[in-house]
Amino acid sequence: MSVITISRAPYSMGKIIAEGVSGQLGYKCVGNEIFAMASKEFGIPETQLHRAIAHAPSFWGMLFVRRLKHISYLQAALVKFFLNDNIVYYGPAGHLLIQGVSHILKVCIQANIDDRVHLKAKTEDISKKEALRKLLKEDLDRKKWSRFIYKIEDSEKSLYDLVIDTGRTSIEDVVKNISSEALLNRYWRTTYSVNCLKNIALAYSVKASLLDVDRDVNVRASIGNVFIHTRALQREREKRIAVVKKATQGIEGIENLEVIITEDIFAKYVETYR
């Protein structure tokens, strides 16, 4: 009756734990398959979606807006997928952004660095020193990525319902703990939690369609009512509303659309001194 998300650093046995929980509860286990789902839904090649989140943001990396857009597509696909029942998700792409949904059990797996180094060295057939160097780089990239997307640290414990240290607990017990927690009444689906997910899914779909118009666009949805906050020059107000309405036309689930325009002070300033 619930959705379980498992966050972890690379080589922390996250996949094995997710598969264990999935086997124990009879839930569907999903990881990187989310790329194929997003690719199918929005017609973006999987390789581009991978690239959008594979590396930390950099000056020479993928264009900022394109990256944001691809991440929004991934998030929209992920939230839509979460509308299904009984899922264990251990893949990437923004499940931390889905806050406030009571039937999603958010788990963070913490493994000690020695165990991770050992596993990486063995898996990639490299020295422990090389494994440590690579892991530290990957952790740093992950942190940068998390700050870029979520504007938060993904290691922040308050983001999770369960934080489990695999250095102190056997994998078998970790699987048991997560499975028994997921069966508590508190993680049952409610009309409210499903509506929260539907609102988030709709907001992401609308946002992805508007990033070309305004990369800082803010979208909120509430039972079919969509509120779009965007910045534009006062004289371009009507034009912007028309552009927004055209870009969001045909998105399923929109019943009412409200565009709230804030004066773009930066553009106004630039225009004044041109």
Partner: protein, 127 residues
């Protein structure tokens, strides 16, 4: 369309209680509505209901107390909580206490209808 399922509605806003009673009665349920929670509790002592639909934030007696009272009286009763102050923690708290469903106000009539229908189905499956 008549059915044998009895529903108790508790909401201290008279207009909401009236609307809920009207909507559920149209669907064939036998509905009693109370705007004073203490009176609803008294009624729960007198008889068991199949389904209780209660607001959470009310003066003196809140919806969680109604939930506990209904569950103590009969664990067969399905309690649907409604609130204008929905938050994840409150939803989880209500579900921990044994609520059947949790709905945020304002809601679409179909949301309540389908929740009540699911409650009926669960009762039927248990029989």
């Amino acid at each position: 369309m008549e059915n044998d399922y009895e529903v108790l509605v508790v909401d201290d806003e008279r207009i909401v209680g009236k609307q809920l009673k009207s909507a559920l009665s149209k669907d064939g349920y036998k509905v009693e509505a109370y705007e004073v929670p203490a009176e609803a509790i008294k009624r729960l002592d007198e008889k068991s209901f199949d389904i209780v639909v209660t607001d959470i934030r009310m003066d003196i007696v809140d919806g969680i107390e109604i939930l506990e009272h209904a569950m103590n009286k009969s664990n067969r009763t399905k309690v649907i909580m409604i609130t204008g102050f929905a938050m994840m923690e409150l939803a989880r708290h209500a579900m921990d206490k044994g609520a059947f469903d949790f709905i945020a106000k304002p809601f679409k009539p179909d949301d309540l209808r389908s929740s009540v229908a699911r409650a009926v189905k669960t009762i039927q499956q248990a029989n």
